[in-house]
Symmetry: C2
Subunit: 407 residues, 2 copies
């Protein structure tokens, strides 16, 4: 049992919390997908639940994002249906209809209303979704759905991911265990036309819809919104959280210790998934934390961190274990953040590379050691204020280019 | 003789216009530079001249940029001194002093004042400039300076460039020939810590300093400001134009046909250099024109073109000759430009890939043919307004990554 103070990691994923069921099947969505890897998954709650979600901010939104946004307005959401092999993006009105049919067939099989089902798709952009294959596979998949289906669902949503991603945490509220679990799939726009990051989370906490959304938005801001592999934002990015806590469980209210614990556990879990996604980035070789401190404003801190984390030249240098602080300072200089060159300090894993905008006397070998590690931190102190921001990113490798060069 | 209507390309470079002299020498600036390639160049006018210049907008500016900005205020500028092998950037106050000494030694050798000399450096960032080597080489270099020194100067400023870049154009004003010529070096942040784009231009036109600046700014906006290899903006980017037209030559005044001809010729010449620089990009394989039309505003057009031209995923797809319009639409969607997905048309070399945000029936083979060419155009019509913008860029290759991975 967790203490009242802490959360702990537990085995399992999206069915770790009470009342959730999942399954996945292969229905052959991608015509080129030769394997029998599952490509369709369902997650559902056996009792009333509320939902929160965050979606891509890209103005080009996939059909499932549009349909899920509408369905999120319902008072009760009890299921998520997800597919890989086709993003159902850039597919026009027929795409919207296909996403609605996906929700409807799930609802029919589960005895729910269409608007109680959220929809996620990932895969090729601009190709019509073969929704009849999904409809055909649905009844059997739902019949087999069980408490042990999480791992299978995690595999079903994989595209270029090399590992399925599952995790769960547990904490207690007035002596009663509360669980949050989930599955996720990888960042980076992947495979020819492949899209993006999906995360489905479930919890048995008793929490109102509005507060659930607030907690999820905060957790996403601290986790998924801080990772970048290539700076490209997909049309399909989605994070969903269902909560099905029974009425007799303690209600989580904002500004209480319990709510704080829920927030901390949820943020930790999202952070775990974000880290898994970056570490499983497309053929990258290094995990880099870019930390900007001393910025004049929070926007400045974010801009500087973004520019460094997305600079091709900086990322190439990291790949080559080249402690090239000049490229970092250059990126900070064009980021749009306020900078005074003569104040900027740069550290690799705490080792000083530049001080006051100029080289330090640190031996090159020592700096090279820091950048040679598979994981390291770049800390940039602008010495202009108190704002800071951290981003997690990767290097840029020849293998990344080859992997993303398409067909 | 060119007609009064047109300009024509002529042989030569930065000494093509009357009254300009140049030379270059190897003084051993970079300790690792094993070859005897020249690394120091001088360009000067034998008569009174005025100067215009545009510099990097990066907030981190190299010492030569700071010193040249000050010297540009002088009524008369007659010389440019340039070196490769060291960018004299992120070098603090000693860097400023080194750049001033570079200008001073040039001025002494030429019998000018220090503030009549502009300074350009390119090469490693954050390493003190061995200015004494430059001072030692200066008198002899200036003595040998001649009307035939342009090609040698073009070689001296090369870093990762594979070819020296020289060009000149000529047109006539009231029957009298006017020449503009120059040398340039490559874009892309190059070699470990290497910096950037330099262009030195000279003309024998008679034109006031203020109007010269206006013409140069306009030409740069239409050329160098429209190219991108990796989106990184260097600390040293500089374009300089000297004009030494004699008092008895016709004075070029704005809003006259002559001034229009000068502007057109200058813009054409800058465009030529911009194109050379992109084509000689670091280990890239394709030259791509990204044209956005139908944007609601000019800023939107530029944002959309920038996002597409700098998307790693789009560039990887180009490298693989993959006509992946989904990634292009995705980049437009996150660019910040106003977009209505259902209106967007995308063409490769005039072949329709997407219409109204959805795939067309164009056979994949036909699209792949267009993207397989070494040069092609991507045209994105947003159908929201009349604004447009064009950018010239490249693909992203494994060789680029390997080349930029450092030591």
């Amino acid at each position: 049992m967790p203490s009242d103070q802490d959360w702990k990691s537990i085995p399992g994923g999206v069915t770790a919390a009470a009342g959730y069921f999942a399954w996945a099947t292969h229905c052959g969505i991608s015509p080129t997908g030769s394997s029998r890897k599952p490509d369709l998954a369902v997650i559902h709650s056996d009792r009333a639940a509320v939902a929160a979600a965050t979606f891509t901010t890209n103005q080009v939104k996939a059909a499932p994002v549009r349909v899920s946004t509408m369905h999120l307005r319902s008072a009760s959401v009890r299921a998520i249906v997800l597919n890989s092999g086709n993003a159902n993006a850039c597919t026009g009105l027929p795409g919207i209809q296909a996403a609605q049919r996906m929700a409807r067939s799930t609802a029919v099989a589960l005895g729910l209303k269409e608007e109680q089902v959220l929809v996620c798709s990932t895969g090729r952009i601009g190709v019509p979704l073969p929704v009849e294959k999904i409809e055909r596979a649905m009844p059997r998949m739902v019949r087999r759905s069980g408490r042990n289906g999480s791992a299978r669902a995690a595999r079903a949503i994989m595209t270029s991911d090399t590992r399925p991603k599952e995790a769960a945490v547990q904490f207690s509220v007035r002596g009663r265990p509360v669980t949050i679990g989930g599955i996720a799939k990888g960042a980076g726009m992947i495979d020819p036309n492949m899209a993006t990051m999906l995360c489905a989370l479930t919890t048995d906490a008793n929490i109102g819809k509005r507060h659930l959304q607030r907690a999820l938005s905060e957790a996403v801001e601290q986790s998924f919104n801080r990772i970048t592999v290539d700076g490209d934002m997909s049309t399909n990015d989605t994070v969903i959280l269902l909560a099905n806590g029974p009425r007799d469980a303690p209600l989580l209210r904002p500004a209480t210790a319990e709510f704080g614990r829920f927030q901390a556990a949820l943020t930790h879990l999202c952070g775990q998934f974000a880290r898994m996604i970056v570490l499983d980035g497309e053929r990258v070789s290094k995990f880099v934390e870019v930390r900007v401190t001393g910025a004049a404003t929070r926007i400045d801190a974010r801009r500087a961190a973004d520019a460094v984390a997305n600079s091709m030249l900086v990322k190439c240098a990291w790949y080559g274990s080249d402690p090239n602080w000049g490229r970092i300072l250059d990126a900070v200089g064009y980021s749009g953040a306020r900078v005074r060159e003569e104040r900027v300090d740069i550290f690799y894993n705490g080792v000083s590379a530049a001080r006051g905008g100029m080289a330090t006397r640190t031996p090159l070998a020592k700096l090279r050691d820091a950048v040679s590690a598979a994981q390291f931190t770049v800390h940039i102190n602008l010495h202009l204020g108190l704002a800071e921001h951290t981003i997690y990113t990767t290097d840029l490798t020849p293998a990344y280019v080859r992997f993303n060069m398409g067909e």
